[in-house]
């Protein structure tokens, strides 16, 4: 079985909200100086899902695919250290400002070019834009089923079985391979690479493909070909002013709060 996991590098989300900055003119998020990009959280869970399948069937090949700048190599290397077999970096100036249709086009074209892929795994959404459509988009462009927001991913006799997280429960869905699945944090923590694996991964070659390698050009990936436009990006202002309830003892604070809530007709 050949599994491809899509891993995106994103600005570090774990920074205090006060250091989160947006360049409104460029419609871009500006990372604080010295803060390196990180792997999108759900994508690491995708790598974990693939590695669990490989644990069960060791002859499984796991390819990590990342579209992004040269630095995205770091995300690939980390995933290789988690136990993945091969890395593929899709990098090209044409890939820099794509909408989701174009992103799914690039990724699905790469899947077609790779050797006999059975399974594509993505995070449920990338933690930068939180759009949550890339996995489904890849599936649609490949003509495969998509089993989304998984907390458990299995393959039995050529059929993918995914337990999905619903808003009020879970459901199990299955479809014959090839399929795309997206995964959520409920699947569990991604494994931590051991030092030895990190060293081994550092020596591995990462294949690099450009737009031309995929047979794609500006007619598909240019600004004109976007289906979605970004009109504005900004930080919402909160006008809330917090009144800290004081008191000599915790009990008194509690009583004062209850009184405030009562006065405000909230209880």
């Amino acid at each position: 079985m050949h599994i491809v996991v899509c891993v995106k590098q994103v600005p570090d989300w774990d920074i205090p909200p006060s250091s989160f900055k947006v360049d409104e003119a460029a419609k871009r998020v500006v990372s604080p100086p010295g803060v390196a990009p990180v792997r999108s959280q759900f994508d690491e869970i995708g790598v974990e899902a693939a590695m669990r399948l490989k644990d069960q069937s060791p002859d499984t090949k796991v390819t990590i695919m990342s579209m992004g700048p040269e630095e995205a190599r770091d995300a690939i290397k980390h995933s290789l250290a988690m136990g993945a077999d091969e890395g593929l970096l899709l990098t090209d100036p044409l890939f820099e400002d794509l909408d989701w249709y174009q992103i799914a086009l690039v990724l699905s074209t790469a899947v077609k070019k790779l050797d006999a892929v059975d399974f594509v795994i993505c995070g449920r959404q990338a933690v930068d834009w939180d759009m949550g459509v890339t996995g489904t988009g890849i599936a649609e462009l490949l003509g495969w089923p998509a089993l989304t927001i998984g907390k458990d991913v299995q393959v039995n006799d050529g059929t993918a079985v995914v337990e999905r997280v619903l808003m009020d429960g879970f459901e199990t869905v299955e479809a014959p391979l090839p399929v795309v699945a997206t995964v959520s944090n409920e699947l569990g923590e991604p494994r931590y690479p051991k030092l030895q694996q990190i060293m081994k991964a550092a020596r591995k070659q990462v294949t690099v493909w450009s737009a031309a390698d995929l047979g794609l050009d500006a007619s598909q990936l240019g600004e004109e070909a976007r289906k979605l436009t970004l009109e504005r990006l900004y930080i919402p202002v909160s006008d809330s002013e917090c009144e800290i309830i004081e008191g000599d003892t915790p009990e008194e604070k509690a009583q004062n709060l209850a009184r405030k809530l009562s006065e405000a007709k909230l209880i």
């Binding site: 959404q125 939180d130 459509v133 649609e140 289906k227 979605l228 009144e243 800290i244 915790p250």
Partner: protein
Amino acid sequence: MANAILVVGEVAEGALVPISAELLGGARRLAEGSDQTVACVLLGSGVEGVAQEAIAFGADEAFVVDDPALTEYNSDVYLQAMLKVAEQLSPAMILFGQTNLGRDLAPRLAFRLETGVIMDCVEMTMEGGRLMATRPCYGGNARAVNAVRTDPQIATVRAKSQDPLERDDSRQGQVTKIDAGIDQAAVRVKVTERKGMTAEGVRLEDADVVVSAGRGLGGPENFDVIEELAGALGAAVGASRAVCDLGWRPVSDQVGLTGKVVSPTLYIAIAISGASQHMAGCSGSKNIVAINKDPDANIFKASRFGIVEDYAKVVKPLTEAVQREKGG
């Protein structure tokens, strides 16, 4: 129908779900002052009777795709049905709720129709016939305004972000059936099991008061005091993702970006730091009260009232004080 805004309505227990009524209200406001009409499509089995309800909540006309194959959501089956609907009606815009159905089906439909989709919108306006949709991104830290260039423009809309119209049963509108014509041979996906997690008491997303607690509680056993406070307030209990990831509470209790969106009158956050991803699920609350021992916790920035204290020392007295206030 090239000038119709089509709302994909959802039905539960024989009635239109609240988010669908909200969407119809939102669609009506978008259509205001233009020649656009608002249509609602209902997919399911035995849903025809709900069409009148969609009209009462603002649809000019309703379409019903009634087929036993649509009894429960299956992505392959529903996609086929929606493709048929889109082909027959060619609407200018299709709006889904950001629900189990919407978040799965809307992107699928958009890619199949080679158009764009905007997920999880919280504000919608119309500019020159195009939808301008505002959505939270970067874990709730930022807002993006997006537009779809191609037709139909597809979007999903967050629960409680739009106000429904007052139900008016005197409103009239045509109801038309559409044949789903499901090709079972083309259905690859099979749903084999569904487990509901029906919470006892008040449903989190409908509750007027929510008491949520976070990792600072230290352990699942400490939710007892949280439940007592919730009991005194008649509130539903929520949790942060940290708590659900630790297995202290079921996933269905999670409030936030990847959990539930709540907008109660009163949201009490106990030992929750107030990460942007958590706030994404509760910032629509009318009043937030925070109890946290860290005076610099982000949660205070969004709160109306706060107590800086160890929760273990204030929650019990707060429960008693609430009981007294309510009783007296």
